[in-house]
């Protein structure tokens, strides 16, 4: 991955933290604390990604996105906000943000979203087959095989393993899976995702020595490609 990133965020600690996460993804990150200055830079320089806080002094985050889109600047924008409301999310996306993340967020969540945005921006063709270690996922046929053994999956289980495979090797938090697999932009505050994942894991890992689907407390789930 990698490239250049602009962070428009007035909270210096949050800005530093986001910059640290982006550097971890090999981005060269710059920070602007002021909305109007941030907009000028985003319009003038070719960034690979822009992370905008929703509430900023001088210019609202949504206004920045709206102006950028009016100027026909298509840089992927990830909006951040302390107002983690569904309605705000919808509003943010309708304004032209490519993704919307309520603060506070898990680092894995932020990373997974940036990775998704970057992949979409590079317009990578969707591969017909996803290979993760000994797991083979055929998108059109909607089949999953592990080391040649067919793994039967329900509709949502297929979406789940596909999402995990697209981010293979990286932990995906529950809220990310909820949004991508079930189109839910809220946390049901129960273990629904964990139960789905453990059911998938039973199917996937039964009879195999290596655990392909691993979980880490506080981080989420990951499809491990193995050595």
């Amino acid at each position: 991955m990698g490239g250049t990133a602009l962070i428009i965020e007035d909270d210096p600690r949050m800005a530093d933290h986001v910059a640290g996460l982006l550097r971890g993804l090999d981005y060269a990150a710059v920070i602007e604390a002021d909305g109007a200055r941030g907009l000028r830079r985003a319009a003038a320089e070719p960034f690979d990604i822009v992370v905008v806080d929703r509430m900023l002094p001088s210019l609202d985050g949504l206004d920045i996105i709206r102006r950028l889109r009016q100027l026909e600047i298509a840089t992927p924008v990830l909006a951040l906000s302390a107002l983690g409301r569904t309605a705000d999310k919808v509003e943010g996306l309708e304004t032209g943000a490519d993704d919307y993340l309520p603060k506070p967020f898990a680092d894995e969540e932020f990373v997974a979203r940036v990775r998704s945005l970057a992949r979409r921006a590079r317009a990578e063709p969707h591969p017909e087959v996803l290979l993760v270690g000994d797991i083979e996922i055929r998108i059109k046929a909607r089949t999953v095989h592990r080391a040649g053994k067919h793994i039967p999956t329900s509709r949502k289980e297929f979406e789940l393993i596909r999402c995990l495979a697209e981010h293979a090797g990286h932990f995906l938090p529950r809220s990310f899976l909820l949004e991508r697999v079930w189109s839910l932009r809220f946390d049901p505050q129960t273990n629904v995702v964990d139960v789905h994942v453990s059911r998938l894991r039973r199917k996937l890992d039964e009879g195999f020595e290596r655990e392909a689907l691993v979980s880490a407390r506080g981080e989420g789930y990951k499809l491990d490609p193995g050595a």
């Binding site: 919808v90 603060k103 506070p104 129960t190 629904v192 139960v195």
Partner: protein, 451 residues
């Protein structure tokens, strides 16, 4: 009378009206009876006095003009057509010398110094010098008619007075009851959680107006306090989000650099922080959803059955784990005006509760059905149901049933359900359906033409 018993049992006004009408009627009857007795006595006394005067005047005639004069006077009396006074002169052998013998009963003809009543007559008989007897009598038919008329009139007056008393009492009672009913209706709405309910106040400064005014002032104060409490919790939730975000990112930074034994502890602390964040997020969701009540922006036509099916699909693994069966009977096919995400969340919270409180291997029945202009969503579990007296308060923030300490959650799920229902103008009813709890949500259906 038996049919009226519940009215008396439940209405203070009915008891007051009945008591005072009864008392009034009794006093009236006593007074009128007195009037009647006095009138009857006066009539009788007058009749007696007139008989004695009559007898005296006949004696006078006899003394002056002897038998021929008396016979003439008695005959004259008998021929007077309208006179209700009757005279009869009887000879030594019992023969009628003058007067109308046929009309008088024989019993009256015995000599007696005091007037006697026999049949329709009041009469006196007196022996005269020379062996004659003179009887004077009074035909009481006229008096009786008079007294009867008097009784009828008095009875009529009593009946009218009683009717006025009852009707007046009822009218006053009903007017007062209507005002009390207004205040009771207000209190009932407050009891159901509508703190915005107010009793109608009238300009006329009477006791009811004072009561309504006092009640409204109390409700305003209560509403203000509740609002202040909500504002504080919402403000706290909002203000805590930035520090919590810092705490979370700081913990993650530290964890990456920490040796494994410390990293493990930091992971636990991160999970605790997430727990706090999710409570504050849920509180904020309740607050902002409630604040948006009545605002049609963001509401679109959605299919209720699809939403329920999506939620069931989300929860199928959890239900399997508890060996619970979720049966869905979509009988509505209805669309309604709503926010899909909020409605998904509402149904998810309800199904989550139903599964949480279901016994192992239990069954959960979900149905949608059209009822008139409404669509009704029912979610019924076979768990323990709600404890007694834990009805409306189940929807309060942080409200948890006595048995809920073992189950995860913070008591915000149903608060959010209510907030979402309020946002959509839906009505929620909870009912213990022995066994289990039935949650019924009623929403206005969207007309197909506008869908």
């Amino acid at each position: 009378m038996r049919a009226l018993a519940p009215i008396f049992a439940h209405s203070w006004f009915a008891r007051i009206v009945a008591t005072f009408s009864g008392l009034f009627a009794a006093l009236m009857a006593l007074a009128l009876a007195g009037v009647y007795v006095v009138a009857a006595h006066v009539v009788q006394a007058q009749a007696q006095a007139s008989l004695e005067a009559d007898l005296a005047s006949f004696a006078e005639v006899y003394a002056q003009r002897l038998l021929p004069g008396l016979r003439e006077a008695v005959e004259r009396r008998a021929q007077a057509p309208d006179d209700h006074r009757i005279a009869l002169l009887i000879g030594r052998q019992g023969e009628t010398l003058a007067g109308a013998s046929a009309r008088l009963p024989a019993a009256l003809l015995q000599a007696d110094a005091t007037p006697r009543r026999v049949g329709a007559f009041l009469g006196m008989t007196r022996p005269l010098l020379g062996g004659f007897t003179l009887t004077v009598a009074h035909d009481r038919a006229g008096d009786d008619a008079l007294l009867r008329n008097l009784a009828l009139t008095l009875g009529g007056v009593a009946a009218i007075a009683l009717a006025f008393g009852l009707v007046g009492g009822l009218v006053i009672g009903r007017t007062s009851l209507a005002r009390v009913a207004e205040i009771n209706a207000t209190l009932a709405r407050v009891g159901q959680g509508d703190l915005a309910a107010r009793a109608p106040e009238r300009a006329q400064p009477d006791e009811f107006a004072t009561l309504a005014h006092g009640l409204n002032r109390m409700l305003e104060r209560m509403g203000g306090l509740v609002e202040a409490l909500k504002a504080v919790s919402d403000r706290v939730a909002h203000e805590m989000r930035t520090p919590l975000a810092h705490l979370r990112s700081g913990l993650e930074d530290a964890r990456r650099r920490a040796p494994p034994e410390v990293a493990h502890k930091l992971t636990e602390l991160t999970a605790e922080t997430e727990e706090m964040i999710s409570v504050f997020a849920a509180l904020l969701d309740v607050a902002t959803t409630e604040a948006a009540a009545g605002d049609p922006r963001g509401l679109k036509s959605v299919a209720l059955d699809d939403i329920v099916e999506d939620v069931i699909e989300l929860y199928d693994a959890v239900a399997d784990e508890r060996e619970a069966t979720v049966a869905f009977a979509p009988r509505a096919g209805a669309r309604l005006l709503g926010d899909r995400h909020l409605l998904l969340r509402m149904v998810a919270n309800l199904l989550d509760n139903a599964i949480k409180f279901s016994p192992q291997g239990g069954r959960i029945d979900i149905s949608t059905e059209a009822r008139g202009a409404d669509v009704v969503l029912t979610i019924r579990d076979h768990g323990p149901g709600l404890p007694d007296g834990f009805g409306a308060q189940a929807f309060d923030r942080f409200a948890r049933g006595p048995g809920a300490a073992k189950t995860p959650g913070h008591g915000l799920g149903l608060a959010l359900v209510r907030a979402i229902a309020t946002r959509h103008g839906m009505k929620i009813a909870l009912a213990n359906s022995a066994p289990g709890l039935a949650v019924e949500i009623r929403a206005r259906r969207l007309e197909e033409a506008t869908a």
